[in-house]
Amino acid sequence: MLRIRVIPCLQLIDESLVKTIKFGKYGYIGDPINTVRIFNELEVDELCFLDIRATKEKREPNLKILSEIANECFMPLSYGGGVKDLETAKKILSIGFEKIVLNTSAYLNPKLVSEIASYSGNQSVIGSIDFKKNIFGKYQVFTHDGTQKQSKDPVIWAKELEELGAGELLLTSMDNDGTWRGYDIDLLNRITSVVNIPVIANGGAGNISHIKDVVKKSNVSAVALGSMVVYQAEGLGVLVNFPDKDKLNNALD
């Protein structure tokens, strides 16, 4: 049977690898190429790269770094950040990435989701939603690296992304990002109960029991890991790592 995918979700700012806390301040992790070499040796399931500032800083995706990554990585790869049109998506796909992550550009130009899906298949488009709870406990969608609040309800937007042709959803809790306190299972559940496409949980993983928890309590198909795979532990220094295979298998059973 298919196992839950465990995906290091790595944040880029142009050529540097970073890790944010709640979409705000960030720590410098290092050079992405060295990091992917380590993940190669650790035989991770899949890697996701997000240039978190590309849209805000009006940059194009850094194709040079992406091709270096693709030349080193022999696993499924996804990329998001600053992909505004089909032409750019085509370039990234031809480098050797098989999935394009769309967040702000999907919100501003939903047609792009369908365009990429019809060019290279639904499985090649990941609809990404960054969400945050307001003081009344209501979930809200944010774009532009979490700086612009949008009016759509995340559950409705998730459903729309599926209808537009996204083959997968990446759901990131801004409140939990970089906090090591676990996933936002509540919203994940609300979304997995209305969509039929795989959902990747992101934001907040701090240990294996968080993974176990989200897998048990929600219907996600994959979990993304951030801080956990780039730091030794909360508050400690950089260490590129991946959870022990046996412990992970136990958690996912």
Partner: protein, 203 residues
């Protein structure tokens, strides 16, 4: 030289990257002359069955590929949709496949529990049920990365090289003499994929 046939379907960069990584000389080509001189052929493919068969026909590759596979009998490996094309037909389309290995390609939907998502996407285990040059040096649990909505069942059990379960047991790799097919993506399956590509390069 391994020729990675470019008929306009799918992501060939990562296939080429992995052949480079295992030290095999390979080249992406759509040139009929080059394909007809190939010592080995890799038939990739992502997309729809009919689109792929139509492209192969329109580019004039059908006769050359038939010649290489059935007369010259050079090693040929079809991956993902490239493996489905080796069968007689597919529920995805109306056009006949290459028909080099007797079998059919079926839709997962309607055949598996509806709680299982389609496409079958992610890492899954394969059981090797026929040892050959391609399956050398696989030890312990062998897993590969899959992304597909259709699956293959071969007619003759001797043509089934590996099987995988996803709601149903299907042929995840197939073989007939010099012709091999893999439903999964070796180019995205790190050490397992490298081993398979290395084996193919060594035949």
């Amino acid at each position: 030289m391994i020729i990675i046939v470019d008929y306009g379907m799918g992501n060939l960069g990562s296939v080429l990257n992995m052949f480079k990584k295992v030290g095999a000389s390979a080249k992406i080509s759509s040139d009929l002359d080059e394909i007809s001189k190939a010592k080995k052929i890799l038939l990739p493919g992502v997309g729809a069955f009919d689109t792929a068969m139509k492209r192969i026909k329109d580019t004039g590759m059908t006769e050359i590929l038939n010649q290489k596979a059935l007369v010259d009998k050079i090693p040929i490996l079809g991956i993902c949709l490239g493996m489905q094309l080796l069968t007689n037909k597919s529920e995805e389309g109306k056009l006949p496949g290459l028909g080099w290995i007797e079998g059919e390609t079926f839709n997962f939907k309607d055949r598996i529990d509806c709680s299982l998502k389609v496409p079958h996407m992610g890492w899954n285990i394969v059981d090797i049920n026929k040892e050959n040059a391609i399956t050398n040096n696989f030890k312990g649990e062998v897993r590969f990365y899959f992304v597909h909505s259709y699956f293959v069942k071969v007619k003759n059990p001797n043509n089934s090289m590996m099987t995988t379960s996803y709601g149903i047991t299907f042929d995840s790799a197939i073989v007939r003499d010099n012709i091999f097919g893999a439903q999964f993506h070796p180019e995205k399956s790190h050490k397992f994929g490298m081993n398979l590509f290395k084996n193919f390069a060594k035949i």
